[in-house]
Amino acid sequence: MKSAAPSATRVTYEQLRSMSVCLALALAVHTAALPLWLLATIAAVIAIRLALSARGHTVPARALRIGVAVVSIGILFLKLHTFNGVVAGSALLSLVAGLKLFETQTRRDLYVVALIVYFLSLAALLTSESFWLLAYLLTVSWLTTTTLLRLTHSSPSTGWRRSARYAGRISAQALPLAVVLWLFFPRFDGPLWRVPSDSRSAETGLSDTMSPGDITDLALSDEVAFRVHFDGATPPAAERYWRGPVLHDFDGRTWRGSVALRGSAPNLTPVGPAYRYLVSLEPNQHNWLFALDWPDQWNLSDAYLTSDGMLVRPAPLSHPIDVSISSHTHVESAHSLTEGARRRDTRLPAQRNPRTRQLALELRRTHPDDLGYMNAVLEMFRQQPFFYTLEPPPLGLDSIDEFLFDTKRGFCGHYASALAALARAAGIPTRIVTGYYGGTYNRFADYWIVSQSDAHAWNEVWIEGHGWMRFDPTSAIAPGRVEPGSDASLARSARLSGPWRQPLSWLSDARLQFDALRQLWRERILRFDQRSQDRLLGNLGVTEPDGAKVAMVMGAGLVLVFIWLTWQIRREQRPDPKDPVLLAYGKLCRKLASAGLPRRPSEGAESFAARVAVERPDLGPRVGVLLKRYSRLRYGAKRRTRTERWFVARVRAFKPRGILPGSQGSRRG
């Protein structure tokens, strides 16, 4: 073995420990994705290795090392069936890093661990969009680099702080270069190749069923569903309905969406102004997108409109995306609903909710006109003592009956459900639309935050000659009949979203500002793509950018940064010409030179002092003290201003001929 090579030298406990810490810090961000037994195994082998090292032993027995490696990797493969993909790959890499530390003997082994730490950091970032994660992992890589510095450095006398500062300076100098590379490196639209998608995370937000009798905690969550920026006009508050899943099928208790069919709604003519906006959706693991009422244009190639007017994608939304959409808030149709659609949207379970049917029959008698009938239903909600609450009493099988006649307490789902049942009982095609209503305006960055507590349900009713009309029975409840504690509902009626409304205005302002920063981060950094690159190049005066032009711009940027870097490094290297200690040293050397004792260019302060002591014993002690002090000021770790001043003053006062007994003549002359 080449034991003489410096990279093959034995590692110390301290080096082993700091690399273990780096690995642990990188693993910390993977803990959610990695199986517990794997983390435990890694922790155990590292602990054993560290304990051995602390006691001065070397690696564990070879058989044990190989055994642990084979068994753990084997189990991992049996459990995952693959090592492809981010999660499986990270799991394998983490295990390999742990095993590598287990058998670490030489620096070269730790080099491998460092490489794995770097790659684990990257793997965590591939599927994340968090600024904090990036900041954390950059810190981890800085620590790892510091560890490498201490590993390579053969004179370990320097302290951790100094190593960290030097590694930090190198990292800081790397930043401008990284920015240039990041800005101009060509981006591609799709992936280079498909990787198996990892286990789906939990669905969030709205689902495609709704059971008003069940208890929901959706309304209390202040998790952001999406953010919207309007280009141009913002629709009035009463028109900001974000359509999500449309529910048709009712079994007396639960509403369900039916299969979403591709194809536009039958002959709907948009009415009123079009609104253009950008929706930044958070991942929710659903196929649908949220758009303002009736979208007609969007910039997502794989998204399509269903016959219900929903905007859906073939794949569930697992990453945040941005979609530009243009919508109208109202539609009109002079046509009739197809027979199938009419039948579907007037269906009610025959055995359920008899009292509701009875009520519908009575109302219908006095309101033969569809529109008049619907208004009468709304009027009923307005007049009768219906209350809005987020904690409604649970309902049984005849949920609508119980709600309308007994409890009279509920939230949007109850009201939409009741209205739909009443309309359908009267033979009017009605469906339930779930989605979001309203949102919080962020005045710091001109966009709206729509959070889960803005979730809402309303109805669309087919009125012959008008087409689908939006009815929101919840809005019929007078604000005075909102129960205390149901913050979100209050917010809704007050046109303000709940969680964003804080008792202290500065707190809510701070939250909004923070959210604005997040949005900026998302728009500028996370969504940076080829188009953004083209725009940037356009701003730099490069028109019609192609590969060659981009490469040229990037090359020019890199050259500039390299020139800056070289200049920076040169500047660091040059001794400060205004350094008082250096100036005083120069003065001292000149004084000695005029006394016939020039310092030789190759002579350091100490050897110069030794020579002076031999050649001029009379000056020796005084010069020796000064030169020794100079060395300490120059090479010492800390500088003390007092010593510095003392040195400068003593050099100024120093006269090589002053007290020489033999130089009386020169003093006279």
Binding site: L122, L126, S141, L149, A174, W193, Q573, S602
Partner: protein, 330 residues
């Protein structure tokens, strides 16, 4: 593989020597003479960076790309720092070194750092055999801001003669071991390897003194200069019988008048012996003259005549003459 690499290194060194000629010492390492390549660790890291880039592009992850580019930039900046670690360093070395065969030739290198940054882990390397690149001596030092460091390389020498090294190397893989920067300094390092003392011939002066016994005896006891150990061949009348009778070792009296006259160590006095044996005997005589008595000594070997003298400088002058005997001039 190894031999291919070694051949390449040897080629580079030869090419470098042609390109730069002989350096005037002290040498300040400038930009154009520093070479830098990634180490094996650096190459592994480069492969890792490529993998990071591909992963970032494949997942269209701007954060992943940001991290990959940050690491790439760190590596590039580290390359600068590795290069900088040698740049502007001043190196000086005492070119000529005298040594006895079988000992280590000690070359003293002086590294001076006049800049405002520390120079860490600078390796001074000297290849001791041009045919095998593995044969080298090295030492690592860090030079503080404005400071200097003396580095000693001990090169074992076995054969008498003049051993020349045409260049030495300064190298560093500071800060992270990702790159290796190096420079060759073309300096004719020369070890004058004197023969190690051997042989049992008595000093010629003592034998000469035997022929002039009458004169030396007439000087009487006042000129007695001291005792030296007896070697066969010395006339018995010089024996210090009293010392021997007291149980001391066999010694001979040495008289100061002998010290006043120079001792000539002559090549011709060792007729009939092999060259190396002769040189070793001369070396022994020089050692004896230095340690034994107070007389100056001179050296006469073919082509060289060193007038009598004493002291370390004189001794090494004589030894160097022995080392250079029969050697082609530099």
């Amino acid at each position: 593989m190894r031999s291919l690499r070694d051949t390449a290194i040897a080629r580079i060194r030869v090419w470098y020597a042609r390109r730069h000629g002989v350096d005037a010492l002290p040498v300040k390492i400038e930009r154009r003479r520093i070479y830098i390549v990634p180490t094996r660790f650096g190459l592994l890291l480069t492969a890792l960076l490529l993998a990071m880039l591909v992963a970032g592009l494949n997942y269209s992850s701007n954060l992943g790309l940001a991290f990959a580019f940050f690491m790439t930039s760190t590596v590039l900046v580290a390359m600068h720092h590795c290069h900088r670690n040698l740049l502007g360093l001043t190196v000086d070395v005492k070119l000529d070194v005298d040594v006895l065969a079988g000992a280590d030739a000690l070359f003293y290198f002086m590294l001076r750092n006049e800049s405002a940054v520390d120079r860490c882990d600078v390796e001074v390397r000297l290849r001791t055999a041009s045919d095998s690149p593995r044969a080298l001596v090295e030492a690592t030092r860090s030079v503080a801001i404005g400071g200097y460091e003396e580095v000693m390389l001990a090169v074992p020498v076995t054969h008498r003669g003049v051993t020349r090294f045409s260049q030495f190397e300064l190298r560093t893989s500071y800060p992270f071991g990702w790159f290796r920067a190096w420079t060759y300094v073309q300096a004719p390092l020369t070890a004058f390897v004197a023969p190690s003392p051997a042989g049992n011939r008595p000093l010629p002066a003592v034998t000469a003194a035997a022929g002039e016994s009458a004169r030396s005896e007439s000087r009487g006891e006042e000129d007695f200069a001291g005792l030296r150990s007896y070697t066969p061949g010395i006339p018995l009348k010089h024996m210090a019988w009293k010392t021997l009778a007291r149980g001391g070792e066999a010694s001979v009296r040495v008289y100061s008048d002998l010290g006043a006259r120079p001792e000539w160590l002559e090549w011709s006095a060792l007729e009939g012996l092999d060259t190396e044996v002769r040189l070793s005997q001369l070396s022994r005589w020089i050692a004896e003259c230095e340690t034994g008595h107070q007389r100056p000594y001179g050296l006469r070997i073919p082509g060289i005549d060193i007038p009598p003298g004493r002291g370390p400088a004189h001794r090494w002058r004589c030894l160097r003459a022995l080392a250079c005997h029969g050697m082609p001039p530099a």
